[in-house]
C-alpha cells in the first residue's frame, strides 16, 4: 500500500496543474488550442477523482493515516 502522504502530494500537484490548465484554456484565443487544453482538463479531472477515491480507501483501511 502506498503511503497516503505521497498520494496526497501527487493529488495536490495534479490539482495545481488542473487550475493552470484552466487558466490557459480560458485565455487562449485559438479554438484548436483551447480544445486541447479542455481535453487535458477533462483527463486531469478524471485522474483527480480516481486518486481521491483511492485516498478514501487508504484512510479507511489504515485509520492511523487519517487526518492532515
Amino acid at each position: 500500500m502506498t503511503v497516503s502522504s505521497q498520494v496526497k502530494q501527487t493529488l495536490a500537484g495534479l490539482k495545481n496543474c488542473h487550475s493552470t490548465l484552466r487558466i490557459y484554456a480560458v485565455q487562449t484565443q485559438d479554438q484548436e488550442t483551447r480544445n486541447v487544453y479542455e481535453e487535458a482538463l477533462d483527463t486531469t479531472n478524471e485522474i483527480i477523482k480516481n486518486l481521491e477515491e483511492r485516498l478514501k480507501a487508504i484512510e479507511f483501511q489504515e485509520p492511523r493515516y487519517k487526518g492532515n
Binding site: M1, G13, Y24, T33, V36, T44, A57
Partner: protein
C-alpha cells in the same frame, strides 16, 4: 518688407497643401513606386519649390499646375484599379526570367538586362547558385524576386513532421510606462490581470519601458533599468514538468501496490496522463 511676408505665407501655405497632397496620394515605399509616380512626385516638388521661392509669380497658375499633377495621377491610379488593361499600360507587367530552372533569354533581352546583371540581382536575393533557382520573375518596377528549389528552401516544421502550436500576433500593452488599452482589449484582458502579472514579476508599472503579450497570454517586460534581472516566463515548462512528475508518481504507485485492481487503476491513469502529455507538448514546449 512686403515681399518676405508674401514668401513666408506662400511657403507655409504650400507646406500644408503638400502635406494634404501626400495624404491624398497615399504612402508608398520609395523603392516600390512606379516610375510614373516618381516623375509626378518630382514635378510636384519642383513646382512647389519654385512657387514658394516666388520664381513663379502667379500663385493661382502655380496652384493649378499642382492640382493637375496631383489629381491626374490619382485618377489614373483609380482607373488602373478598375481595369486590368489600364493597369498593365500604366505599370507594366512582370516578366518571367527563369522558369523551371532555365533562363528565358528573350525575356531578358526585352527587359534589357545582361546575364551578368541577372546574376547580380539573384545574388542580392541570396541565390548565389543558379542551380538553386526554380523560378525568377522581374516585377514591373525592375526588381527580381526569386523562388528557390524546394529542397533548398529553409526547413519548416511541416517538413519535419513536427506539430507546432499556432501563434498569432503579439499585442503591445505597455509603452513608456503607460498602459495601451487597445492592446488589452484585443486580448480580452483587463488592467487587474496586468497588475497581478506585474506583482508576480515584482516590477512597478512606471519601470516598464515595453510590455508585450503573446497570443497565449505570456507577458514579456523590458524595464528602463537594464541591470534588473527579470525572471523569464516559465509557467508552461513548469506545467509540463508537473504533469510529467505526476505521471511518474502514478507509475511508481502502480509498481508498489499489491492489490491488482488498484494497480490497474494507477496504470490506466498513468496511461491517460501520458497521452495528454503527448498532446500538450507542442503547445507547452514549442
Amino acid at each position: 518688407m512686403k515681399e518676405w511676408i508674401e514668401v513666408l505665407l506662400r511657403t507655409v501655405g504650400l507646406f500644408i497643401v503638400i502635406f494634404a497632397a501626400i495624404k491624398i496620394l497615399g504612402n508608398n515605399a520609395i523603392s516600390k513606386i512606379s516610375s510614373f509616380r516618381l516623375i509626378s512626385y518630382i514635378i510636384i516638388a519642383i513646382v512647389t519649390a519654385l512657387l514658394s521661392a516666388n520664381v513663379i509669380k502667379n500663385i493661382s497658375l502655380g496652384l493649378l499646375v499642382l492640382a493637375v499633377w496631383i489629381l491626374l495621377p490619382l485618377a489614373l491610379e483609380y482607373l488602373s484599379l478598375k481595369s486590368k488593361y489600364v493597369h498593365d499600360l500604366v505599370y507594366g507587367k512582370g516578366k518571367v526570367v527563369i522558369k523551371q530552372g532555365k533562363v528565358m533569354e528573350d525575356q531578358l533581352k526585352q527587359a534589357r538586362m545582361t546575364g551578368e546583371e541577372l546574376l547580380s540581382e539573384l545574388r542580392s536575393k541570396n541565390a548565389f547558385f543558379m542551380a538553386d533557382v526554380e523560378f525568377a520573375i522581374m516585377e514591373a518596377n525592375g526588381e527580381i524576386n526569386v523562388l528557390l528549389k524546394s529542397d533548398k528552401l529553409p526547413i519548416t516544421s511541416k517538413a519535419m513532421g513536427q506539430k507546432v502550436a499556432p501563434k498569432s500576433e503579439p499585442q503591445t500593452i505597455i509603452l513608456d510606462g503607460n498602459v495601451i488599452h487597445e492592446g488589452l482589449k484585443n486580448l480580452a484582458l483587463n488592467e487587474k490581470w496586468l497588475q497581478q502579472q506585474l506583482e508576480t514579476a515584482g516590477i512597478a508599472l512606471e519601470n516598464v519601458f515595453i510590455g508585450q503579450v503573446d497570443s497565449s497570454g505570456e507577458l514579456y517586460i523590458d524595464t528602463f533599468d537594464d541591470m534588473i534581472q527579470l525572471p523569464q516566463p516559465t509557467v508552461k515548462e513548469l506545467l509540463y514538468a508537473n504533469l510529467e512528475k505526476s505521471h511518474s508518481d502514478l507509475l511508481g504507485y502502480s509498481l508498489e501496490t499489491k492489490d491488482q485492481q488498484t494497480k490497474n487503476m494507477y496504470e490506466q491513469n498513468a496511461k491517460k496522463l501520458d497521452e495528454i502529455l503527448k498532446k500538450l507538448e507542442p503547445y507547452l514546449l514549442r
